[in-house]
């Protein structure tokens, strides 16, 4: 399992934007949690302070992509088609976690739901639904 976590982390570390956000992955079987450590560089409103809404969206998109690569392998490079993001609570100066739930993987389309939370899993701060175009499965 640690091998799989390391492979996933290596994949994230190859992506400059994931490195900039400081994303870390944890894997328990096929269940992945992506971790967004807090830092001033992700703050949108310094007065509150609150994590930039765009960063939360980007973080959840990355979670969906990473979970797809765990489930489908890295050969089927997914391309994002659309996202719908719901903001439920402000992102405070705390570590944020996200988990993705792959609702369907078809021949060409994957549908993924993601939730992000901080202190309590039952009180998500944001949610995302996304469609991805995925390459054909290799035989």
């Amino acid at each position: 399992m640690t091998g799989a976590t390391e492979r996933l982390q290596a994949m994230l570390d190859r992506i400059p934007y994931a490195r900039f956000l400081g994303l870390k992955a944890e894997l328990a079987g096929d269940e992945m949690t992506l971790i967004l450590p807090f830092g001033m560089h992700i703050v949108g409103n310094p007065v509150l302070p609150a994590i930039h809404g765009g960063v939360l969206g980007a973080f959840m998109e990355m979670t969906a992509l990473a979970q797809l690569s765990v489930k489908e392998g890295q050969e089927r490079q997914p391309r994002i088609i659309d996202v719908s993001i719901e903001y439920l609570r402000s992102g405070r100066s705390l570590t944020t976690y996200a988990r993705a739930d792959i609702k369907k993987v078809g021949r060409r389309i994957a549908n993924v739901h993601v939730e992000a939370w901080q202190e309590q899993r039952a009180q998500p701060i944001a949610a995302l639904r996304a469609h991805f175009l995925i390459g054909p499965a290799e035989d």
Partner: protein, 160 residues
């Protein structure tokens, strides 16, 4: 009603300063080099330079979808500030984005957001992100923002 707003010399100018301040005051927007191209009533145009930290696909150099998401969210928020008669804290309620095509690598990306309706509690915005022309967008967005009704004291400058 008219008397209250008349106290400010130019409400549009004031809102423009607010929006500009919100942009410069946002650490993440600064990290990504977001810049204001133009601001008018209810409409904001912003630019993000191509930076190595934005890359989502190291093989092609295409920036991450999340960067486009952030630029659109940020630009939509500015458009809301530019559409309001007074300053209010705003919070994104939802943001829907269609990604039409990858952004061209090593080129700046722009966003144009238009706040087309403000009610007492909610503002509605649509936006496009593009590299060369708004007619050939990279992504299109639709967003709703909650407007905070509470009076904000000392948000800019501390003492109030």
């Amino acid at each position: 009603m008219g008397l209250k707003t008349a106290v400010m010399s130019d409400p549009t100018e004031t809102m423009r300063n607010m929006a500009q301040g919100m942009n410069q005051g946002s650490p993440h927007a600064r990290e990504l080099g977001f810049d204001v191209v133009s601001m008018e009533e209810g409409v904001a145009i912003m630019k993000a330079p191509y930076l190595d930290i934005m890359v989502g696909d190291p093989d092609t150099g295409v920036i991450a979808g999340g960067v486009v998401t952030t630029l659109l969210d940020h630009c939509c928020g500015s458009a809301v500030h530019l559409a309001m008669k007074r300053f209010a804290i705003i919070a994104t309620l939802d943001l829907r984005i269609d990604y039409m095509r990858p952004a061209k690598p090593r080129m700046p990306i722009f966003a144009r957001a238009e706040c087309y309706k403000v009610t007492r509690s909610v503002a509605f915005v649509r936006a496009v992100a593009y590299d060369e022309s708004p007619d050939d967008p990279v992504a299109a967005a639709q967003a709703a923002f909650m407007l905070d009704s509470t009076k904000v004291k000392g948000l800019f400058g501390g003492a109030a």
